[in-house]
Assembly symmetry: C2
Homo-oligomer: 366 residues x 2
């Protein structure tokens, strides 16, 4: 393991800090506020599910373990709830106005995780066995469906015109999420994927729902469509920056932090941004990588590859420039996101906090 | 085969006609109107899906075959679209006002078929291989999700207050649909299910969405909640009558008409109404049936059972009174549905047509 450590993300920052003045304490407070306000409402919504779906969902969220005993899972980074509350504040409303939006977005996000893990055959998520591994495929499908329905219910029971508009935006985002997963699946079976196709897929899979998180609170707070669209632009590019960092962590991330295996995305032969960019770069390392990956696709022994074999591939991706390109892409998307933010009138504090969250997204280690 | 024919539905009406004056020509016209008005809008909605989901959905609806060539599948009985258009007329609106409701309900219905067929391992639907058999489990999950999202989109893009109310009712119905499937799955693993539990499950699985079909057009046409609730009451009990008939057809239906195997529900060890009622009846046939089914549950040879073995079980269900009880239950629910209809003010013609549809539901052979 020690030989490999030198090429992993934990020894150097994944992306050099964009803003040297990022106040991580402030970001931690924002994330914790999102979690503290949204989680009780999320739990109350999940409690409405009929047995055994309530239990299966509680396992997925990390509130209980596989035996049904209370657990203290972290339930993810909670970036989306934090954004939804700030979104309400961006429209001049109280953060609490964004809570149903935060909950609905979290429900849709987790609906997609439940179904994607099953479709992709992923056995681990957040350091634990995935729902289909523990409770079976039928429960993963069913509880995913239930969370999706619940997301709409949580919004629509507000009974306001704003709730209808918010649900429409959430529906659009969900359709994109599904499009992205369809692209992801189809790319797995293709020999080549262009950088543009990869970015489009990531925009659908990650950008659309983050965009919705950033507009939904504002819409619930009465913002007009132009404001909501601009906020979504910030969120969409933030999502692309987020995903670029995720792709870096998927190869060079520290398993202790990410909760995934070493070289996680390489083990899954994922055509993520660093891989696609390295293949598109040309040059000796790029060509050698292409040969290796083409052979891997047909290999019977892939499942028993050693750490060293994955390390070789990671080194070639880096040598071909895939790692540097992806870091640069994260920075580029971060800049576009911040530019969109400048075009929306909002309280100075809220803008500074949205900006700090954007900085956090690109420097995070998990 | 000929020995068995005598106990099947095709030789005697499943349920004796409730209203000897049922004008089947009128009902056929209503069903065809629903199909004619809803199908083009449904197809346009499905065409919005990204490839390959559009193709997979088109296969599911019977518009193309497994090779992608145009096909002329019947896409089901189309009771729900017919109801949604009548629903708009019940509120004094034009039938066209109900079209987005008809399409949304059909999308949710088909989302649930795609997922249920996969969860239940059903290989045939409407005389053809199910989607997961042809296109794989991932596509069945993904396209189901997409149809569910599309249902909300079709309604919410109307952008009206009524559309928000309609979507809320559809969401409630969808949640019940999912609850019903959860109950269905859990009952499969249980030794005994009461008649009440079975009725509750069927109310969720079938009643809730039929109820929504009957209220959604009216809501889009501006009906108040009281009217919508009463229409849902009619639809809910119509759904229970529908399901009771389905349960009869699932055992004694003619495979030529139903598109399912002989003794279809018995082959799946489904605890449907006739079975549950027969087990609850007591008496020698009931006890003998209980012994056989308990042994079947543990049997290694169940998959290779002969026609005669299923015929024996069907005969015991009938002897114990399960078939008669279920026929009577269909009639009972039909009567409750018609009584609810009487409590809503609506044009005389619309009431007569809703009444004729209720009659059709209990006399159908497929």
């Amino acid at each position: 393991m020690s030989l490999i450590t030198g090429t992993r993300g934990e020894t150097v920052p994944t992306v050099p800090p964009v803003n040297p003045a990022v106040d991580t304490a402030d970001v931690t407070t924002l994330l914790e506020r999102g979690r503290a306000l949204a989680t009780p409402v999320l739990r109350a919504a999940v409690d409405r599910l009929a047995a055994p779906m309530d239990t299966v969902a509680a396992y997925h969220f990390g509130w209980i373990d596989a035996q049904g005993n209370p657990a203290d899972g972290d339930g993810g980074k909670a970036v989306r709830p934090a954004l939804a509350l700030l979104s309400a504040e961006a429209a001049g409303a109280a953060p609490e106005v964004g809570i149903p939006g935060a909950v609905a977005v979290e429900l849709v996000h987790n609906f997609s995780l439940l179904h994607d893990d099953l479709m992709d055959g992923d056995e681990q998520r957040r350091h634990r066995d995935t729902v289909w591994k523990v409770h079976g495929p039928a429960q993963a499908i069913l509880v995913g469906d239930a969370l999706f329905a619940l997301a709409n219910e949580v919004l629509l029971e507000l009974g306001t015109v704003e709730a209808g508009r918010a649900t429409r935006r959430l529906t659009t985002a969900t359709r994109k999420l599904i499009d992205g997963q369809a692209q992801d699946i189809s790319y797995e079976h293709r020999e080549t994927v262009t950088v543009e196709e990869c970015l489009e897929m990531e925009g659908n899979k990650t950008g659309a729902l983050l965009a919705c998180a950033v507009s939904i609170g504002a819409v619930l707070g009465g913002a007009d469509d132009r404001t909501a669209d601009k906020l979504e632009e910030y969120g969409y590019h933030l999502g692309l920056a987020f995903q670029a960092v995720d792709d870096l962590l998927g190869i060079w991330g520290d398993p202790e932090s990410t909760g995934k295996q070493t070289w996680s995305d390489l083990r899954q032969r994922k055509k993520s941004l660093p891989v696609v960019a390295a293949l598109a770069a040309g040059g000796p390392a790029s060509r050698r990588l292409a040969e290796l990956l083409a052979a891997d696709a047909k290999s019977q022994d892939f499942a028993s590859f050693s750490e060293e074999e994955f390390a070789t591939r990671a080194a070639l991706i880096e040598e071909a420039g895939g790692r540097a390109w992806t870091s640069e892409e994260a920075r580029r998307q971060h800049a576009v996101a911040l530019a969109a933010l400048e075009e929306v009138d909002m309280p100075h504090r809220v803008r500074a906090q949205l900006s700090a969250l954007a900085d956090f997204v690109v420097v995070r280690k998990r």
